[in-house]
Subunit: 384 residues, 2 copies
Amino acid sequence: MKKLILLLWALIALTAEVSAQQALWGVPQVISPEINPDNTVTFRLKAPDVSQAFVTGDFLDWGKAPMTKTDDGMWQLTTDTLPAELYLYNYIVDGLSIADPSNVFTIRDVCTVFNYFIVPGNATELYNVCDVPHGTMRQIWYDSPSLGMKRRLNIYTPPGYEAGDNRYPVLYLLHGMGGDETAWAALGRAAQIFDNLIADGRMKPMIVVMPNGNASQEAAPGETHFGLVQPTVALPHTMDGAFEEAFPDIITFVDNTFRTVPDKAHRAIAGLSMGGFHSCHTSRLYPDKFDYVGLFSAAISPRDKSHTKIYDDIEGGLKRQFDQKPALYWIAIGDKDFLYEENRNFRALLDKGGYPYEYVESGGGHCWPNWRNYLTAFVQRLFK
Amino acid sequence: MKKLILLLWALIALTAEVSAQQALWGVPQVISPEINPDNTVTFRLKAPDVSQAFVTGDFLDWGKAPMTKTDDGMWQLTTDTLPAELYLYNYIVDGLSIADPSNVFTIRDVCTVFNYFIVPGNATELYNVCDVPHGTMRQIWYDSPSLGMKRRLNIYTPPGYEAGDNRYPVLYLLHGMGGDETAWAALGRAAQIFDNLIADGRMKPMIVVMPNGNASQEAAPGETHFGLVQPTVALPHTMDGAFEEAFPDIITFVDNTFRTVPDKAHRAIAGLSMGGFHSCHTSRLYPDKFDYVGLFSAAISPRDKSHTKIYDDIEGGLKRQFDQKPALYWIAIGDKDFLYEENRNFRALLDKGGYPYEYVESGGGHCWPNWRNYLTAFVQRLFK
């Protein structure tokens, strides 16, 4: 009966007035990607009229793997068995890089929209929405007098926040260059990781604040008064000290708005790449604010000292910070990361000062699989 | 200096280890779409090796307009002047329907990912992020004992909610078939419309609750324990009464969790298409709950009575509802909507009972431009 009615609706919709109706009944004809039981993955693309089609993705180190055309115009490729991970990919069709038209699951990473899929296994169990209590994700605006604008934050509050009256510690979690306040939620699977770790008792319930580290922007691309301006990496004021100087605006807002424990012992800051840079220098600039610092594939050396003097005395700043004995200073980087040397030099500087830190060296490079792993490891160390 | 450093980073990243790094420096080479000063729109696609390229979109009534190839392999099309509106489009390249690779702004509408752009003018000023106080959008989970699952809501709280202690009226705002709790925020520009109308004093500050109307689902596709399952329209239990019967779970959660005014005079329900159907029957089923009802291009007649008896006595239910004199019963539909006749029949039924309602007949069909307009008109009538 139901099917009949749906069919009837579809027929009505496909008659004369279809042009004025929403495209409700466009059901995808092609299954792609298909995660096979042996964790190989099959990609498909129905495109009889194109002459070349490739898959590219992080599981191919962004190389191109040719798809094979079958008689009915279906292009297809099946990978080898892939390790459990969240993967990004695109197609290249007659020289044109496109999203997989059969996969609605997309993530914008900086300037490019990629499709994604998850190969199941131990490493990705934390990335799933499981039957556990869920925290709340908010897009909320705060006033930043230092930057002269309203700016947007993504904030995770743990399960039970709304129903209870507990106060919680706070992790400030920062994105990389070209990213924005949505990056950790989308590419980082942050809400899923937090929900699952908290349910397991492996992570203390905490508030996680994900600000926008681009000090010239109010929010993510498309979410500002600039309108639908395409994103770019080359934003002004990303690494010139403006963000670190304005950071107290965020802390003030968060402590005034949420049930935080507003002291150093209950405050952490961490970030990836440029966000690691911001974490390093913000925590150094305000040595009485953060007891936990996480640098994930962090940039360390100042790129631009034009705006402020905050990079003028890094060694003095580190001394002031470590004089206050942070509970955990945690550095992680992959052995193929282009910032590896920069991190080695920074560790030498810490060693020279006799400053204690923990160091995790993983495989791999400057990429999200590492950052999700670092986040997972780091949050389990906080506020314990 | 900054440029030099960025260049240096780029060079480092493009050497031996590029494959292990995030694709940070992929800057789009092509501007598309470009909204010209005369509100014509130019689409571009760099694809030297394809032999046919078309633009399709709602501004073309989903017909195909051929793009023209220039010598350097750039395909291009400039439209006529377009009225101010938010438009959806895709390309069709060698028979393949794809997103515009140069435009990261995409919206999933049911089963398809479309690009979008906004042509400026009076009608779309409300769709912009303006320099006004902003409300907060939350993705929050509630327990639905009636449906036996945790389910996700999108909730808008008005500017000032966090800082104050006022109580607010509540609008429950429902999506259509194939949609989910994210539809009104993404396709409906709901947060922008609310922020701008509230700033203008045209809309009372209110809480807006956007539930998921698919009673078999916890949340939007990809946000459930099913994992990354591609969306489909043909979900079970969408219009069989399960959602309406379980609606009190949502009200209970919202009234327990947010500072609402928990009475009929401060509660509204509205929705588009299937969401209009849900609004019609939920408000009828609980006649003491909603003082304001909005049916936007609503389905009215039951499609499936298999699950419950709630559709057995519609006339009796309407009598019970109108005996309690709702403050506003508001019906809007386009004169080309495929549900036009169904709405005419329903108005005849209301007329027969002598039940007061307001009726707005617009041009156009079953589509988001109408639904955004209806929302804008309806919310200005609430709680006044």
